[in-house]
Every structure is written in C-alpha cells, then in structure tokens.
C-alpha cells in the first residue's frame, strides 16, 4: 500500500484575506468624503489659525466663496465678472433670493439660516477679504465664517 507523502500542495485559505479586504473597503467607503466642486477650490491655500473652532453645522444653506491670492473670486464664480463690491453684492442678493425660494418650496418657514463661507487664500490681501465680507453684509447676510486650517498641512 503505497502512499504519496509530501505531494499535496498547500491550498491558500482565502477566507481571512477576503474578510480583511472587505473590512478595508468598508472603512474607506465610510470615511470617503466627496465634496462638491463649487465648495472647494484646490488652488486656495488657507491660512493657519490655531484658535479656529470646529465648523458650525447648524446652517440650513451655505454659500461658498473662494478668494484667491489676487483677490478674485474663483471656483464656479470665476465665470462671473465680480470685480467690484457692488457686483458681488448684487450677485449675493440673487443667490440669497434663490436659496430662500428653494427652501420655501421645500416647505421651510421663517428665516432660513444661510451662512457665507469665505475661503480666502493666505496670501490674499486684507482689503480684498474685507471687500467681500462687506458686500455680504450689505447683501443682507447675517452669518458668515472665515475658513482656516488648524495646522499647517
């Protein structure tokens, strides 16, 4: 009675491998954060402010404004010619009206909390930042926030 000793190949057990791969996929799927193109502009390098606080998530609507180092509004607003505070104010008033209309059509009543989120480049001039914030104030917005990084990346 002859037996073949040592001729059996080791079959890899793929179950733990599959298990771990699916765990990793689940982790990355949960932590993925797809952001809208009009919200963030990669060309903007935010300043560092260690005392910046976590983002306020109580807003009902947001208006993202990305300001580059030259003081120009970029992103989806780059197609508009918003080179004066008055033009910025008019555009923001239109944006505010359309957001309020959209919110009311969804059944919202009362004041809609619309927050202006200004992402100004760290090399942008203070006068340009102020110009945009002033336009926001004159357009009737009550809530705004400047964005900054909590540490250098």
């Amino acid at each position: 009675m002859a037996t073949n000793v040592g001729s059996e190949a080791a079959d890899p057990n793929l179950v733990p491998l599959l298990d771990l791969v699916l765990q990793l996929i689940m982790f990355f799927m949960i932590t993925v954060n797809f952001v809208r193109v009009d919200q963030f502009d990669d060309s903007i390098h935010l300043p560092v402010a260690q005392s910046a606080v976590p983002m306020d998530k109580t807003a009902e609507e947001w208006v993202f404004l990305n300001l580059n180092k030259k003081g120009d509004l970029v992103g989806t607003l780059s197609s508009f010619v918003l080179d004066t505070p008055e033009k910025i104010k008019v555009h923001l008033m239109q944006e505010k009206s359309s957001l309020e209309r959209a919110a009311k059509s969804r059944g919202k009543t009362g004041d809609i909390k619309i927050v202006i989120i200004l992402r100004a480049d760290k090399e942008c001039k203070y006068a340009d930042v102020w110009k945009v914030l002033d336009s926001c104030q004159r357009a009737g917005f009550k809530y705004w926030q400047l964005r900054a990084m909590t540490r250098a990346s």
Binding site: M1, T3, E8, D11, L14, L17, L18, V21, L22, L24, I25, F28, M29, T31, V32, N33, L46, P47, V48, A49, Q50, S51, A52, V53, P54, M55, D56, I117, L118, A120, D121, K122, E123, C124, K125, Y126, A127, V129, W130, K131, L133, D134, Q137, W144, Q145, L146, R147, A148, M149, T150, R151, S153
Partner: protein, 178 residues
Amino acid sequence: MGMRDRHPHRTAFGVNLGLIITPMLDMSFQILAFFVMTYHPSALEAQVPVGLAEARPAGKPNDPLVVPAPGPDEIADTVSVIVKVGDAATGKPQKLLVKRVTEPVPQQIAGAEVTWEHALRTLERELRRLRKDADGENAAIRIEADGDLLQQYVMEVYDVCKSAGFNKIAFVPPPVLR
C-alpha cells in the same frame, strides 16, 4: 487498495473550487485601490467666527490714529490692535500698535527691528496685561490692519488675541475702505 482521495475536488489541473472567487478578489482590490486613492485624512479645515466692526472716523488726515472719544454704547475696555504694513508689495507687517479706546494715542509694541514671531509674543504679553484690567467677559478687541496686509498675518494676530483671553474679536475695515 488506494486510500480514499481526501480532496474529491482535486483534478489533474489543480483545485476545482465550487465558487470561483478570483474575479471577486480582483474587483475587491480595484475598489480598495480607488478608495485608498481618494482617501483624505482628518479634515484640518475649521472656522473663524468673524465679527465686523465699523471704523470710527479718522482724525486729521496726517494723524489717522487719533480717534475721538468712545461713543455712549462703546465698551470702555475695548482694545485696538493696529497692524501697519511696511511694504505694500509684499504685504508683510512692519509695526504692531495697541490702543485702549480711552487713550488718545496708540502705543507701539514692536517695529521692524524685531522678527514677527517676537512681535507676536510681545503683543500677547501686552494683551494679557490689558486683559487683567479689562471688564471680564465684556472685553473686546478690534483688529485694524492695513489693506495690503496678507491674510495669514491677520490670522496670526487673531490667534494671539484669542490666546490672550479675548473672546470678542472684531475686524475693522482697512483705512483705504473707510
């Protein structure tokens, strides 16, 4: 008499699995690679609450830092931090001044002879000293910067004001926009 084959599914060409998982593994790795590429570590972006203050009218044209007495609704303990730019092209700060609203003339904290980091440390010491005299929760700071100052320096001054214990911080329009 041969031993019963322990692997009934073994064929001459290898293991014949009942379930072919090779394509599934392949797709799993594809999806994993996608999410690894698009993964961003914890967000570093945060917000700075912005308060906007109105500028008080300037004094004589050649003496813009002399301001009139505070109005009736103005908090007497308001402190102004004034940042002057040396070279408009670079936007770098040159002078740091501090002024309490009740004082006629601002006091220079640091000038071009020291580094910006040293100037910020001196500013923080001065603000902490002022904070001790200030009216607790009502103490406020106004940041008055030149229009050509880069936003990064404005944020650093904001950081110092916060770390000195002031919670009410407002930004004043730059001189050119008043």
